[in-house]
Symmetry: C2
Subunit: 213 residues, 2 copies
DNA sequence: GGATGTGAATGTCTTCACAGCT
DNA sequence: AGCTGTGAAGACATTCACATCC
């Protein structure tokens, strides 16, 4: 079933959505052919890196020509499961959670938030930005029922760990963690941290060190 | 003036705010001594990596003992300029921008959003979550006036590039970019991308590849 | 005794530079 | 003639494992 070329380097995998996005942009702009040099200009990824990344999936281009935009786009759509719809849960409907509910995660929607959870009685049972909000008590049940295995965590840090444990119990396999805490999870669970304070402080740090790195 | 130990590896620098945060947590919890092994458990950073990271700043620990929490905290506070207040601008007060205005970027506030910019007449001139909102027309002037050199970019992607060019013109040196586009900037300007769609899609990709990487 | 600091080994990622194919 | 795909080199990062020192 998985005819997938395995052992894609992590760094490459993390760039795939970016390539996919720019290929769509190019395709929509009517471009039918692209070289690694041009794609590099758009994405700011070194052209040799782009060629290396692509090469992990086979010989996608033609020497002396470049890559066919439509073919590449189709290929990466498959790779990234853009054909299927992936349902995601949002846990914690505070300011940031609300913003993410409104966030257009895709023009071409292949990922969508299909359920949200909170403890605030005034929003439980309502539809926020098109997404039903459930109480946290119903979370395990709903996650199981809806077969959701990706969750976005935007709860207060005080309850982050306990919440993630419930989510994992309910079968969640991947977590996009917006809390500033590093979560403890079983090793087969993937956590991606989005650490806004950290990003901002790193930026300030580099600014104050006159560092070129 | 800069007695700073230079040539800190990029990967180390990106972990400094995390260390700082956990040291504060430990300090506030009354812990006065910590080993790299314990800090590793909290931060999920390998203990050898922690020791290597710290060693770039000198010999901060004591063999057979570990590290003094307060001393480390003080040290990293200096390194990260936690003593000074850094003003940051928020450009684009949509849903995500609003959420960031409310985001507590620090318990111990050393970074704060001091000005916001938008084109929406109904919020221009108002105070949103304690932050004055100016029109984009006033942006260059205000950024200069307030000597702001860090900006958070949460504008629609259609105007991202032109907006960033104005910000750079106004002296901004670092940008936290929440738009899905890769910005073109002079090479002395630092851009940190926070690419939410990308993160989510990468997570989905890894989920569907039964990848261990 | 116990945990640091660090050479050395290993792993990962990027970049060069060019042979080879179209 | 031009651009890919990739060996080889280089740069960077992590991890091992232990001598060293408190």
């Amino acid at each position: 079933m998985k005819e997938q070329v395995n052992k894609i380097p992590r760094a490459t995998a993390r760039r795939l959505p970016l390539y996919h996005r720019y290929l769509r942009l190019l395709f929509d702009a009517g471009k039918y052919r692209i070289s690694s040099a041009e794609l590099s200009e758009a994405t700011k990824v070194d052209s040799a890196t782009i060629r290396r990344d692509f090469s992990h999936f086979g010989e996608l281009g033609k020497r002396g020509y470049g890559y066919d935009v439509e073919a590449l786009l189709t290929f990466f759509s498959k790779i990234l499961n853009q054909d299927k719809l992936t349902n995601v849960a949002l846990i914690g409907v505070g300011h940031l959670g609300q913003a993410l509910l409104n966030y257009r995660f895709q023009q071409n929607n292949s990922v969508r938030i299909s359920a949200a959870f909170d403890i605030e009685p005034s929003i439980i049972g309502t539809i926020q930005s098109g997404v039903p909000v459930y109480s946290v008590e119903e979370m395990v049940e709903q996650l199981r029922l809806q077969h959701i295995d990706v969750a976005i965590l935007t709860v207060p840090q005080e309850v982050a760990q306990e919440t993630v444990e419930q989510a994992v119990e309910a079968g969640v396999k991947a977590i996009l963690n917006f809390t500033p805490l590093r979560l403890s999870v079983p090793e087969d669970i993937r956590v991606q941290n989005v650490d806004l304070t950290n990003e901002l402080q790193t930026l300030v740090y580099f600014l104050n060190t006159n560092a070129k790195n």
